[in-house]
């Protein structure tokens, strides 16, 4: 029972939540002490996707606008950060934030047609945007063309002032990305508790009603696109350094779909949900389904099926099949995603004997 506005907007609703959050943070900060390099890489990837999924959820889950073009913003962030550092010798943080702002500017531009579009029309417009970015980057020599580019060393010092501090290992990057991720997630959580966030939710529930009660649709719809693109830009900039190398075709339509899947699987309109979705989908994509034939329990079975009816070389496509089935199943059986399951479990145990 909330009695007061500040109770509604505070970050930790109760002592229990504060305790578990702190424990979880300590756990995260000590992971590099006992995990192998491969898992640190996987965690870096997961955190990058968490930033993106949280940003995308602000747009899709909270504001109710569909985007199939987030790979475009992601690409702008990745290329922007790497190129600003390589050609203008900007410090890492300046380049990262600057390219995120460039992405946000593109988000604003894409938000303008979105003012008049909804549903399938918006889907096709954003999809067109994503593909356009991919093709433009692929054609332009400045961006390395089809060959892609290698990211410069991740130098978080000031290269101009002869003070450089290069994060070369996965572990070094881990702490930086972790801090950025925590900051971005808390920022998103707080944005959603302000007037801006509440306006987003009002627009999702009914844009006409929101306009009637005085929400400026033009401002807040474009703002939702910009914020979401900003998150995607930050995530893209970090992604480039985690991977070390990328080409334009990394940022294809399938990637946009995977981003959307993260949000939908995690739970629309919930920040813990988008974190869970990003973790699950990234784990499936980069670890479990990477080598299908070595999967526990069903790997051998799948190889047998492949020999019998399909081709063994095509077995890697099982990844895509699994993802497709997850997408369909989550909409049919649990439209609220992982967060919905969590809520149900919580309710069940809160009222347990009954």
């Amino acid at each position: 029972m909330k009695r007061d506005y500040y109770e509604d907007i505070q970050l930790f609703k109760s002592g229990t939540i504060l305790f578990w959050s702190l424990t979880f943070m300590i756990f995260l900060f000590t992971i590099p002490l006992y995990a192998t390099d491969y898992y640190i890489f996987l965690l870096n990837m997961i955190m990058v996707h968490v930033i993106l999924a949280v940003g995308l959820n602000i747009l899709v889950g909270y504001t109710g606008q569909i985007s199939l073009g987030h790979a475009g913003f992601y690409a702008i962030g990745a290329y922007g950060t790497a190129l600003l550092m390589m050609h203008l010798q900007l410090p890492f943080f300046v380049a990262l934030v600057l390219s995120a702002f460039i992405a946000a500017a593109f988000g604003f531009l894409l938000g303008l047609p979105a003012l008049r579009l909804e549903g399938p029309y918006l889907a096709i417009a954003t999809l067109g945007f994503g593909l356009t970015v991919m093709h433009v980057i692929g054609r332009w020599d400045l961006f390395g063309g089809r060959m892609g580019i290698k990211t410069p060393p991740m130098d978080i010092g000031l290269p101009g002032a002869n003070y450089s501090y290069v994060l070369s290992s996965e572990r070094g990057m881990f702490y930086l990305i972790l801090m950025i991720t925590v900051f971005m997630v808390i920022a998103a959580r707080n944005i959603m508790n302000t007037r801006v966030g509440r306006s987003f939710v009002a627009i999702r529930d009914s844009d006409i009603a929101a306009e009637v009660i005085g929400v400026n649709l033009t401002l807040f719809k474009t703002l939702a696109f910009s914020i979401s693109a900003f998150y995607a830009g930050i995530a893209g900039g970090l992604f480039g350094f985690v991977l070390g190398f990328f080409d334009p075709f990394t940022f294809n339509l399938i990637l946009s779909i995977i981003f959307l899947v993260m949000v939908v699987v995690g739970g629309l309109g919930s920040i813990p949900g988008s974190i869970a979705g990003a973790v699950v989908i990234t784990y499936l994509q980069y670890d479990l389904l990477k080598n299908v034939s070595e999967m526990p329990y069903i790997g051998e079975f799948l190889v047998n099926i492949s020999n019998r009816w399909f081709t063994v070389v095509g077995l890697e496509n099982f990844n895509s099949i699994a993802l497709g089935l997850i997408m369909i199943a989550i909409i049919i059986f649990e439209p609220l995603g992982i967060y919905g399951i969590w809520i149900r479990i919580k309710k069940y145990w809160m009222a347990w004997p009954f």
Binding site: V60, I66, L112, P113, R116, L117, E118, G119, P120, Y121, A123, I124, A125, L127, G128, F129, L131, T132, H135, V136, R139, S206, I208, A209, L253, I254, I257, L260, V261, V264, L268, S306, W309, F310, T311, V313, G314, L315, E316, N317, F318, N319, S320, I321, A322, L323, G324, L325, I326, M327, I328, I330, I331, I332, P335
Partner: protein, 290 residues
């Protein structure tokens, strides 16, 4: 030169239009944008390829088998994936069809591998005629014009005079009223999906014989066809044919002058058109009632 560009543009435009009809057919009846349309057609084309290459059957037999398969595929996808969803939102429907797309793409990649294959129609792209000086028209173009015209005429009479066609129009206008009048809406949806899958498979065969056959080959044509359908307003069948023709012409002319930007011209046009006319060029814009 211009005549040549126009013929080529119209031919590929007719292909987009034909595939766009498949998209419109589903959207008109059930208000689902089917993102898996391209992949449904791709799998059907692979079936034709499989029958032709491994069993060496004559083309007409492979064609009939493919059409039967396409209809069944459409019905199965509607029945298995869309029907169980309870009151899905627009986003939910888009995610389901995107999921079906990934699923079909994965199955095709698993079965036939990712390498590009040749697919040949009896109407070849290489066989050309020159009816007027300087204007070359290929058998392929003639084939697509005839198929598109035939399907248009069939659809016109189907929607106008048959019981099922009228039922489909009624379902589109008001689902609940249609139910009250004794129309089994679910069956209408199944039929729409089957029919649309069939039309898509025909168009995909033309696309495959012009380019190559691989599990990704329908992605770009699907985008263009969808863009053409959006140009035409996503609701009217003459609109989508006009939109397809327009799209083919613009793309061909643009590709002639600036070939490096050909892949994106369709999307730039789409975004611009949607900015000016949010419901497409040839559709009336209905304001949402609260």
């Amino acid at each position: 030169m211009f005549g040549q560009l126009i013929i080529e543009g119209l031919a590929i435009g007719a292909c987009y239009g034909l595939f766009g009809i498949a998209v419109v057919m589903i959207y008109k009846t059930s208000e689902v944008v089917n993102f898996s349309q391209g992949e449904m057609a791709m799998v059907s084309t692979f079936i034709a390829y499989h029958i032709l290459t491994y069993y060496h059957c004559p083309f007409w037999f492979a064609f009939i088998m493919t059409m039967v398969f396409a209809v069944l595929l459409g019905i199965v996808i509607e029945f298995a994936f869309l029907r169980p969803a309870k009151n899905p939102s627009t986003l939910g429907l888009i995610v389901i069809t995107l999921g079906a797309e990934m699923l079909l793409m994965g199955i095709a990649g698993w079965k036939w591998g990712a390498e590009q294959k040749e697919f040949e129609l009896p109407v070849s792209y290489q066989m050309t005629h020159e009816p007027i000086e300087g204007v070359v028209i290929s058998d392929w173009a003639i084939g697509i014009f005839i198929s598109a015209a035939f399907i248009m005429v069939v659809l016109y009479f189907f929607f106008k005079y048959t019981k099922l066609g009228v039922a489909m129009r009624a379902t589109q206008q008001n689902q609940n009223a249609a139910k009250i009048m004794g129309i089994r809406v679910e069956r209408v949806f199944s039929f729409a999906w089957g029919f649309s899958s069939l039309i898509g498979a025909v168009a995909a065969m033309f696309f495959a014989s012009r380019a190559t056959l691989d599990p990704n080959f329908m992605m770009e044509p699907f985008m263009r066809a969808f863009a053409a359908a959006v140009l035409g307003g996503l609701m009217s069948i003459p609109g989508v044919i006009l939109g397809g023709g327009l799209m083919g012409l613009i793309e061909n002319f643009f590709g002639y002058f600036w070939p490096e930007w050909k892949p994106i011209v369709a999307f730039v046009i789409i975004i611009l058109v949607l900015c000016i006319r949010p419901s497409g060029l040839f559709a009336k814009h209905y304001l949402k009632k609260v």
